[in-house]
Amino acid sequence: MRQMSEALQHDIVIVGGGGAGLRAAIAVAQLDPNLSLAVVSKVYPMRSHTVAAEGGAAAVIKDNDSFEAHCYDTISGSDWLADQDAVELFVDEAPRELIQMEHWGCPWNREPDGRVSVRPFGGMTIERTWFASDKTGFHMLHTLFQTLLQYDAVKRYDEWFATKLLIEDGRCQGVVAIEMRTGQIRCIKAKAVILSTGGAGRIFPFTTNGAIKTGDGTALAYKAGVPLKDMEFVQYHPTGLPGTGILITEAARGEGGVLLNKHGERYLKDYDLGEPLEVDDPKHPQKRTMELGPRDRLCQAFMKEHEKGNTIESPFGDVVHLDIRHIGEKKINKLLPFVRELAKNYAGIDPVHEPIPVRPVVHYMMGGIHTDIDTATPMPGLYAVGECACISINGANRLGSNSLTKLLVFGKRAGVAAAKYVRSCGKFDDSSLESQTASEQARIAAIFNRTSGNERIAAVRGDMHHAMESGAGIYRHDATLATTCEKLAMVRKRLGNIQLDDRSNCFNTELTTMLELENMVDIAEAVAHSARQRTESRGSHQRTDFPERDDQKFLKHSMAYRTEDGTPRVEYLDVVITKWPPAKRVYGEKPIESGA
């Protein structure tokens, strides 16, 4: 690898240029233009996976909605694992952030009077999802990126791959990163680092997530000793296209789409999600009912239906049908054009005339780097935000359309918190940062130059995928999780036997793929071990050997700490309850009045 050149220096370094990172960057740039701010991203920011979010972003804006309702939907959706102080703060700040997005130019869909439109999403009492047709994430990401372009002071390191956090004097003081086009490994010193690197859906084989979602920032923090919270909670989305896993947005159901089994029945009626209304009933789709139930429950219903033999065989695994034909071509073109485009291109059917084949697909990590409500991690100088962080507002199951809002609310808070920290943190010892960089360089060079070993990245990655899918999917059991943990330990050993083909310094994507795989194995182990130790069923974490929720023992966040050999040690932290004491999750009927 290339010789190191001198260290780069900034006040704040943001790692990850998706929605959360860009929102944090704008917050810093607006707050204090004199701060030196850098955004390090392994892809050009507009490629970040925020771009693929479709349905919308939730915030209370309409007169029929309320702060309490959004809180209650989020908390009951989380199966009471969300921290309620964080949820209250989130719900309170959400409308301001979405109005801010509007002022920055986001093309929200509108009512005839010019106000923004909202649509219902799963698990919501009242419709509150703001949307830009069905490309909301795309529009938000590009709006944020274009808005950031006006701040000349922001230095972007596009296509720089961060490999290590620099820790000295008990504080995070920067990152080591590879400049991909030259292969140089550089020390980027900073007084504060904000991680916003997204989730890690790619630890599973079948996911809506793009190739870049390998949990790099999460692994960086984990390796630096920061705990990962609630990692066992992995959200499956009920409607992915078979084969590719491409997302068909929940908005398809929000606009009235229904799920049908092989007998053409709306099978969700058998799973405690309420009674179906006819699709031409003006009250359809009913909120918090049937197709507008929460994601975890819909995916579990699919699995049960599969066991009963009621799903439809397809070349890429069993499916059910998502039928949106009754919505009509005109409305589909206006409200769900991307759904139509994706179904036509990747499923070969036109949803105006045929139902869409769908199956559950890994979509979102509820868990992530442990932070407080100001996005600060236990490591001074290190902040985390977005899907890579766990604050937590998502608990055991995230409500659809809360994540885009979360990027904004907490992205801004991260920027503000980091700026405040930087202005008050004073001077500290940074003498070893360059030698740390040199040893990181040596570590990477060893991987790069390895001439022994007979493994290929794809084979090892494939075995990690298999381990996760077979044991840590929608339904889990101690036996399957034990096997998964064993297999992952094997996978970890084999990492050292991978030999790269590519010895080039310029844009060596094989090297970065290798480093991504190392990160993913760390995260996969955190998921599997945390899942094994949570002997209850809650939200997205369903144990067939422990089918009940156990508030006595597990109204707690799991905290996974990385140990020497890579496997985690799991501890627990109490959930913050403010106004909504744990209760039964009820869908399909009038929700229990909130505790407020």
């Binding site: 892809v43 050009y44 507009m46 490629r47 970040s48 996976h49 771009v51 693929a52 804006i61 301001r96 109005i99 801010q100 509007e102 002022h103 920055w104 130019g105 093309p107 929200w108 869909n109 509108r110 009512e111 005839p112 009077d113 010019g114 106000r115 923004v116 490309k135 795309f138 590009h142 274009q146 808005t147 372009l149 006006q150 596009d158 086009r181 793009g210 190739a211 870049i212 084969g243 590719t244 491409i246 997302l247 991307f338 485009e341 994706l342 291109n345 990747y346 290929r456 990245i457 794809a458 790269l500 083909d501 590519d502 080039s504 310094n505 310029c506 844009f507 060596n508 994507t509 094989e510």
Partner: protein, 247 residues
Amino acid sequence: MPQETITLEVFRYRPEEDKQSTFQNYDVPYHEHWVVLDAINWIKDNVDGTLSYRWSCRMGVCGSCGMMINGEPKLTCAVFLKDYFPKVIRVEPLVNFPVERDLVIDMDGFMEKLKSVKPWIIRDDTDQMDQEYLQTPSQLAAYKDFSMCINCMLCYSACPVLDGDPEFIGPAALALAHRYNLDSRDKGNEQRQDIMGAEEGVWGCAFVGECTEVCPKNVNPAGAIQQAKIASTKAWYRSVLLPWGKR
């Protein structure tokens, strides 16, 4: 039955070794449901880890995987092997860009151009955060199509003007500038006029129209540029004929 295969003829350029680019052939298993990107990923995973390219979302929205497929700019996640089978598929990096390595192009120029058109909302007033700016559905429709650009760069590869004049701002960036000019919330027309009305702005366009043809998101940059020419002309006449009036 033996596995059918299809041949990909892939552009290779290793900047540390090569003076010239070469082509390398790979035989890839043929699956009807595979897109060209699947085939390239198969090569990377199984045969040749040295092949470099960009990709991520594999659903046509991140804009990373644009390449020349048999001479035409395409998103490789959106073109299927079956549309070419059994013929050889030639895969090259997008033209009109320097090649960093293999199928990876250098986009620095575009990033500069994007910034030069001020693609953000410009207003004189300060933000009032209590309510959204009102915008009717028809005001939204006026610019919505032009806001759909994913910066995939296919239009830059389709534009012959950029060959003769690399300074030309180009289709995607100009369309985006026009998008903000058309937005009822924006007051930045005048600030963008200098760059839009310049030689390398809209007047560089010869209206070949191929940018619109290759756009995978139906943005119609050619239309945007012609509309901006009319707007630019009107602004010029107004400034000459009515120098005392408001533009």
